[in-house]
Symmetry: C2
Subunit: 340 residues, 2 copies
DNA sequence: AAACCGTCCGAAAAGGCTTTCTGCGACTGT
DNA sequence: ACAGTCGCAGAAAGCCTTTTCGGACGGTTT
């Protein structure tokens, strides 16, 4: 820190002087423009290398109006849903020339507004808004001068561009998988009914059962909370009232874990007697349960990547619009294997 | 998207024209400089408001050399350690005028170098490097023109500024807590011995035991892996070989969870017969175990906040240096209550 | 020899903002 | 009434880069 610090970033002028050319020529040489003799070009490049010259992105952005930055507005960083989306987005951009401004609004509209102002003043070329629930969220206020893409949590405005996971379809996938395992008496236990995710998955599950001419155990979805405790309790209740249950579709891996605990403690063999499938494919849970847990993966990184791609396209002027729902996938583990 | 898009960001010139003053006066008015009559100032501010003027941070940064941005270089976004640090840092900055560039190097030195170039060319004023393990990491290569602070994973170079959690002390805290619960025959089971975190906590635990004239059960720390499976297995082994064990200090909450499972299945009562303490205070684990798990919290958000503050100070020229180790804290839950 | 052409290079403007310095009118003190 | 102050506004320079346009230069054609 203390030593020969602050070598003051070299400017194009320095490079030009060292190479003995004008700054115009230096610029052209560095940016691969024509109109520069090969020999001159190498001389400039050597000078740039020697000074470890990095063009000032601010000046460049100021001039040509393209900053190569986008804003990533998340509502809860700690939430495990926004992180993968964020990774996917950072991934999709990172390969190119784009840098990402990260902002966490903490679910506070004021703070969100504040961050948007800051991002806009930094001349981001676009915004990705990442939610922590799949419930539609109010769109960003005001007529923003840059395109916006909503990821995971779609915008309430169907005109906006939104990318999310297809939870209805995922509910069907889970049921189909359990049926492929030979199960017919399937219970669906999930979390808080106020979550769109819970409702959507439930709807998909019920539809899939109906298409097979069946009905969920108990004739309905068991809504509760997204916790192991709920999973444990409701599983005990279901075992008691519907002892012939042979499959559990759980709305989250946490719930599934609770269910598994109750099943094991009550002497049921998973997967021989009963198949269980969770949701989220959260490694810390799925790989530590006994047996390991089959789960639905929402491909959130893919959501992030697609969001980034759509934003890119919108920046380029190819404006799409509407909600794009990406498919989920089943990751099978020990808790669900076909019965003969 | 399609409609009256692109209201072309207003510039200072527009504001000045609308207010009927020169751009110089407009600038002064907006930035609260003196030399502007109150009446003129309000006129300018109204004009700015009307045009929803946001000063172009690029131009400003270009001129005065201060961009109000810092880079956040993480090595694994999905890791659960870098996220809280990142939150704390974003928090500490966010309040002010600073925006954060997020980059994930995926643990790849090439990619890291690439990101550093990009950040530098965007003229960040400082860098925070967030690791995913507490093991010291090689410092960023090259003489960077901006200060760097290492968070969670300290730099190998003791001259650099590093902020991390005090794992040795934490090991002692955990043991002290178990002893305060009346325990004397304490086992320490932890993860991979190649992790500095495991070694440090073990060292602190052994020292605390020695200071009380005691020794860990088995005379040593049980290293293994950071998994529930290891916790389950090693707990069974310890119960078998040292049946009078009355306390478990676990190197992670996952391990603790495995230990708790084995204890419950073998009929031991936690916390009456045996106290258990975990590490990381990871809510998804600590609040779902039966009983709920006491754990050591590394205050990672605090690490992030302090890192941000130190970076700030370094940018201001008050260069500190060296590794700063922040204290951990015990969060008590049901798994450890004092025995009479 | 004059006109012309192609190749390279440099001067200069632009982009939006901050800051210094200058200028101008109004006020104060004697 | 006159020099000296003071308060306020504007002109202009500067930050660093890109890009356009014109100039210099050497060689070719009529």
């Amino acid at each position: 820190m203390a030593s020969g610090e602050t070598p003051r970033n070299a400017t194009l002028t320095d490079v030009a002087r060292l190479a003995g050319v004008s700054i115009a020529t230096a610029s052209k040489a560095i940016n691969g423009r024509a109109q520069v003799r090969a020999e001159t070009r190498t001389r400039v490049l050597e000078a740039a290398e020697q000074l470890s010259f990095a063009p000032n992105a601010l000046a460049r952005g100021l001039l040509q109006g393209r900053t190569g930055t986008v804003g990533l507005l998340t509502s809860d960083l700690e939430g495990r849903f926004s992180i993968p989306v964020l990774m996917g987005a950072e991934d999709a951009f990172g390969a190119g020339q784009v840098s990402v401004f990260l902002c966490d609004a903490r679910g506070d509209a004021i703070r969100e507004q504040h961050h948007i102002r800051a991002l806009l003043s930094r001349r981001v070329e676009g915004l990705i808004v990442v939610g922590s629930r799949t419930d539609p969220r109010p769109p960003l206020a005001g007529d923003l001068p840059v395109p916006v893409v909503y990821a995971y949590a779609p915008s309430e405005n169907p005109e906006d561009i939104s990318i999310t996971a297809n939870n209805v379809e995922a509910g069907g996938l889970a049921i189909d998988h359990l049926m492929a395992c030979g199960r017919r008496r399937i219970a669906h236990v999930t979390g808080d009914a106020s979550y769109a995710a819970a409702q959507d998955r439930s709807r998909g599950a019920e539809r899939a059962m109906a298409e097979a001419g069946l009905e969920l155990v108990g004739g309905r979805t068991f809504f509760g909370s997204w916790s192991e405790g709920w999973g444990r309790g409701v599983a005990a209740m279901i075992l008691d009232q519907y002892p012939d249950v042979d499959g559990f579709f759980c709305g989250s891996d946490q719930i599934a874990r609770g269910v598994l605990d109750t099943l094991r403690e009550s002497g049921r063999d998973v997967p021989r007697d009963i198949s269980v499938i969770g949701f989220d494919n959260w490694a810390v849970l799925t790989t530590n349960t006994r047996p390991q847990l089959t789960s639905v993966d929402m491909n959130l990184e893919q959501v992030g990547r697609v969001a980034a791609r759509r934003l890119f396209e919108a920046i380029e002027g190819q404006a799409a619009s509407g909600i794009e729902e990406l498919p989920c996938r089943i990751v099978t583990r020990e808790s669900s294997v076909p019965v003969p």
